[in-house]
Amino acid sequence: MSSTKTATLSLWISLTCLVGCGMFVMKNKVQSLEAELAQINKNIQDDVKTIHVLNAEWSHLNSPARLRKLASKHISLKPLQAEQIINYSALPFEYEQNESQRRLAAQRNINSHAEQNRLKKVVRAQH
């Protein structure tokens, strides 16, 4: 056999071995990665299940009937009545045509309240 032939043959054999080894290593790695993926997927599914259960519980705890019962027991808030919502224009300010004057009127209103409060404090302090 000539040296060229021997060289070619050995090249092929070494290449085959190399590819074989490479393939084995790769396969091994893929297997371990797949196992890892399966584990992660299982964990995710467990988490999804847990989240599902928690969501259901949250919905159960937030059911309007239960909230109403708790609210009537622990806080003194009542359902909103239509009469409690009124327009700005219905507020007891003197009506001013332009906006800057309206602001002034509002400020005056606040100031008068502040003045009243101050007077109340003074009266209380005197007693």
Partner: protein, 581 residues
Amino acid sequence: MFGSFFSKKNEPFYLPGEEIKLDKSFSFLNYSCEKDPLSTCKNRVAFAICMFFLVFSILTIRLFNICISFDRPETTIAEADRFYALPENPIKRADIIDRNGTIIATSLPTVHLFANPKKIDNPQKAAVELSRILPDIRYEDILAKLQKKGSFVYIKRNLTPSQQYQINALGIPGLEFEDSEKRIYPHKNLFAHLIGATNIDNVGISGIEKQLDERLRNSDIPLQLSIDAGIQDTIRQELQAGIDKFHALGGTAILMDTNTSEIIAMVSLPDFDPNRKIKVSDRATFNFATKGLYEPGSVLKVFNAALGLEKGHVKLTDRFDATKPIKLRYNVIKDYRGENRWLDLQEILIYSSNIGSAQIALKVGKEKQQNFLKSLGLFSSLKNFEVAEKASPILPRVWGEATTATVAYGYGISVTPLHLATAFSAVVNGGVYHQPSVLLSEKTTSEGIQVLSKKTSENMRQLLRGVVVEGSAKRANILGYEVAGKTGTANKLVNGKYIDKKVMTSFLGTFPVSNPRYTLMLMMDEPKPLKETWGFVTSGWNTVPTAGNIIKAIAPQLNIQANYDLEEMRNNRIIEAAYER
């Protein structure tokens, strides 16, 4: 055979005994097909080598193909072989959520316990242990199951996690677990009729669960409804209060978006808890709102008035003689506490005059009346509605003159409350009819059919507002929310006779009337007279105040701005109250 290919022509010479020695010249190059022992041996070796080559080359090629294949056909590879980066959802059946994302129905992961009786060595001992952990099953029952022939028997479905842990810790071979899920309804009774329920195998058996079973099974994306859980609860509570107060047998309420016919809330009472698999009365499982067929009574006068206006036979100013009953061939049409005078259209609705309504219908005629009611969907089943329990309206077999007259004020034809709410929405929203739906649609106003003109619709809104301001629906006139509507009281038909004391009372209304957004349909079955209603059982005394309470409670939740007339408000001393503060 192969030897001849390799062999040389010249015959080698062997010394005696030399032919059986293995010499250095052993090669395939110099043997023949002769029948000498050496050639036979070489032949066989060559054959074996060829075979090995063949087999290994096949293996190599196949291995190469499997490992590195360039043209893998996508379709022939099984789906299961592929690896997904994302795991599939362990919960198979989709959730149902309301318009704000609140969970209405969901599935919880559970496990079933099953046994393989063949693998269980000591059924008595296993049964003792199991009956200790599962106190709700008797020892004898478990033992009977464990001694059954066959290799599969369910012991208990839906174990609790601690039960599963304890049974697992027993370590009895032959007891196994199966992953499963259980449908639960966190709001209990609240959506009982609407959502329905599933059976033990998670297949929908009623309501939305049945109608949209395929959708819920095939996709795990939550199904979003147009229902609002908060509003539903408020309405249920108010309706229950009303039913309790008037000792009614049952009731139903539907709140619908007037402009799209989307259902915001739908309650039918009495109801049941779908989480409990116990037998409840037929009355409780009956969905009043979509399956209850009743003669609607006076609320049908709304459609009659719209018919008259739309076809141009009646004008707002026309007056009708309601001084004496109408005598038809077989029956006489009378008014309940009639005014006994000439009435215009507004007054016919305010005083709910049967005589006036019948006159309008007779003036318009049978054909037009039928076509109009048909266009409002009152003649056909609401096939596309997402709740499984549906009823088809009952129509008279013969539609004569008498029928035309009686249908005008709501007798002779039976429809469901859902039909009425849908048709009413079309009358007040500008004349566009939409199919009712409980699914939240992307579009704000779905495609509808124009069934009456905008002008007629506007007139109808005015007339209906008049009924609430001065007529039988006064008690639903909630300040600021401009309620408009019509009441109805229909005598129940028992054994072919109308009975005075047994009535179905209803209220059909919309608010705020200047720009209708919501339609409310309320119906009560046999409310009883009370002292405070002066012995009356008509709608204005029971259904209407209940409707008023409902509107008062839900309107602020629905984000409707109260539209006060300043003068009206001063009368109600709101400004004074504000000044005092």
